[in-house]
Symmetry: D3
Subunit: 124 residues, 6 copies
């Protein structure tokens, strides 16, 4: 399986039909994202996919990228991170990138929970 | 074991004698860090210590906190993250928080490798 | 009055019924925020509440946390910061965290002014 | 032509009737922006207007200021930056400030393209 | 007193001989800083100098600008902020911009304390 | 010329012998940087090299990446950006990412000026 195929396989498994985006401004960037970012970087062997999801989610929370966080929380779910662990990531992150980043992260998580009918325990 | 003791136990295991800092400006903040941040947050059950190290390291790389990254790469080592995985975190992070953040992260990792006589493989 | 009660007292006075949030993802974080962040940190004696509001607002403007800025501008009002001073904070911040952060801050302030029927002078 | 007039001339040419904003919270900041930021800084001779647009757009993408990015992509168009170059700026920026900042930048660009009926080539 | 003189007066009182910087790359920026930033912005009446110092320090801690933080902690001292209040700002900021930003802020404060022979209480 | 060769050609022309870095932690990242970032992204046709240098420098100033700024100011010089234009970029950036980012940028520029015996005019 070459990079192109690997990229398609991972992105589809993690995010569904995200590669179908046909908006002109995005066309090349989506190709680069699939072929290179997922085909060559996410598919490297040195780090488990669940670990890659954890660090991606952590960076997105810390840098306030909420749109991408929504997408990657979905991907993290595919890679084995539970909703309770996601809630815990936000609580942990509050102390390293500030309370507001965690509150915004929890807001995105709450949306995901509602949309996908997930559950989080009251206490972890 | 109460929060105070848990905090001391975790910080000592992860970072050695970091609580011995006697500089006046730091006194209260170090107490809060040990008792609360490590005693009450890092010791929560919802997320494994290795996972907490991964997300902490990721946030520190993404937000350019190099001094704390040095400390937490050491802590991550205690929590089971290998130097090769650390290198891979930096390569992954390059794509979510920018190349410069990864280069600075690798610089800190290289220092840790040299100081502790660690090894990274040429290819992961 | 213990930390729990202090936290409830301060958060209620500054923000109204913000603790009533019942969304599952937020439950624990709201408890930590009330008991610890407001009960143990905001209630420390070393800095006046008006000063705490000033620095909180400044950080939220500088780091672009608009949702929290809205909440904390309301809290700052309770702690004695006037709408004209808030406007001035944004103008000042423009030079330390960039024009766009100030413009977004003014936007949030304008919303608060309209919602609460506040006034700002044309010139301070 | 004094600073005040220069500022009005540049802002009007780049952004249209943006100075007509009459919201109370913005009144003074808009005067400072027109008279000083555009009248004294953007009108300095040491750097071409197209270069100033390039670096402004780059900073806005990197720091996630999407509202201002929308305005300044419009201004960049007036200063001779083409939609294809804008798309390329986002692809380039992905590597220095992270993929999410580029994706958000492309989103803003796509809006501009649709609103103004612009075209981007499939490949640059 | 015109803007130029006001700027010189404030910068000299807050920072000493900082305007004497003769490095070629800085010449114009220092003139703009003195005449405009201090002569026209810091000297606006809408916000007290102590308040301006508080928000400036808060922004510098939150955005990790340690060199400028050192300078502005000195300026804040001139404007009536005590070393204990500075310590408290860092502890407060830890929760809004993350622990690492506060630790780096305390480090800068500790340097100032040592250089100027200041004191902070063990507990505030 | 394939991507690998293109990458080596551009990096060598812009930065000299930067690819010779032999530190273990950097080995793979440097290969990715040369082959992909320079061989595939910087060598895309949609944006002139001078434009790419302008936006790279702007991002590095705005995000406070001083080590990389030093390297890329050198590269910008190779791509036709003059020291006076660099000074002007910093003055312009002050207003979009804050004064401290510009001051730190000027500091790096001043170092480059001194090391390479460059000149900047007193006024641009």
């Amino acid at each position: 399986m070459d990079h192109k195929e690997k990229g398609q396989e991972i992105t589809t498994r993690m995010f569904g039909d995200i590669l179908d985006d046909k908006r002109p401004a995005f066309k090349e960037m989506i190709a680069i994202t699939s072929d290179y970012l997922f085909g060559e970087i996410w598919s490297r062997e040195g780090l488990a996919l669940r670990d890659r999801s954890l660090i991606t989610v952590a960076i997105l929370v810390a840098t306030g990228k909420e749109k991408q966080l929504k997408t990657h929380l979905g991907g993290a779910l595919s890679n084995g991170v539970t909703p309770d662990e996601m809630k815990e990531i936000m609580i942990h992150a509050a102390h390293y990138s500030g309370w507001p980043s965690a509150m915004n992260g929890l807001n995105v998580l709450q949306e995901l929970i509602e949309e996908q009918g997930l559950e989080v325990s009251g206490e972890s």
